[in-house]
């Protein structure tokens, strides 16, 4: 079975969910799905379908790069496992920590540096970069 057949539901859902610039390519036995999701919910839905077809993503035969860009001024909740989220001077863990945002705290997204780091402002007014993985769109 080809990868496009194995992941047909995933590809069909991406096509039907308004993913812009969608590209589905197969290269060296890996299926690459690229595009921009209209919302974080669409991105989550695609990952959920991927997890159903390939539990815990164990085959490693797909690379999904469909990310949602949060609008400037939108709110997100800090979703760390427990502790505070570091606010840094630049986009990288080697950058100086200039503030903290608590688990569950609501922050304002100012812009997105890349697919991993967002520039935010916390309730206290500290501005800096945080890791997107720990933010949940509101």
């Amino acid at each position: 079975m080809s990868l496009q057949d194995k992941y047909k539901t995933l590809i069909d859902t991406a096509n039907q969910s308004g993913v812009s610039g969608l590209q589905v390519r197969e290269q060296n036995n890996v299926l690459y799905i690229d595009g921009s999701a209209p919302s974080a919910a669409v991105k989550d839905k695609l990952w959920s379908i991927y997890n159903q077809i390939d539990p815990d993503y164990k085959s490693g035969d797909v690379v999904i790069n469909v990310n949602a860009t949060a609008a400037s001024g939108s709110k997100a909740v800090v979703s760390t496992n427990s502790g505070n989220l570091n606010i840094r001077k630049g986009p990288g863990t080697d950058q100086e920590i200039i503030g903290k945002a608590a688990h569950g705290e609501s922050v304002t997204i100012l812009s997105e540096a890349n697919d991993q780091w967002s520039l935010i402002k916390n309730a206290k007014g500290d501005e800096g970069y945080v890791y997107k993985q720990y933010l949940t769109a509101q």
Binding site: W47, Y57, V63, Q133
Partner: protein, 120 residues
């Protein structure tokens, strides 16, 4: 003698004129056939499809920086990068893996190998 020369001269000029016009008309025909070929080529061009651009794959150094940031809060996960493939070992909670893997995918690796990562 003079009359013969004059006739000869007229014939000569006529022959020259004929040859020249023949060459010109021949050139004209050549040009016409070239133009036809060009027109055909132009008609064929829109039928060819644009090739799909290759997938963007990050280099190892860029991937290592991204992987270091992504796995910082998961001390039990060990990650290695070689030939643009991210290989993970160790262990991670299922809920954390569902957060971490999308981030690793967004770094543009060739693939993510988690065959030896224990999901708890």
């Amino acid at each position: 003698m003079k009359k013969t020369n004059a006739v000869g001269c007229v014939l000569c000029i006529l022959t020259l004129l004929f040859t020249t016009s023949a060459i010109v008309s021949c050139k004209g025909k050549d040009k016409k056939s070239t133009e036809t070929t060009v027109t055909n080529t132009v008609t064929d061009t829109p039928a060819t499809t644009t090739p799909t651009p290759p997938v963007t794959i990050s280099g190892d150094d860029e991937l290592r920086r991204g992987v270091t940031d992504a796995t910082k809060d998961y001390p039990n996960v060990k990650a290695a990068v070689a030939d643009s493939v991210i290989t993970l070992t160790g262990e991670i909670k299922r809920a954390d893996w569902q957060k971490l893997n999308p981030t690793l995918n967004s770094l543009h690796p060739k693939r993510v190998n988690s065959a030896n990562l224990t999901i708890k």
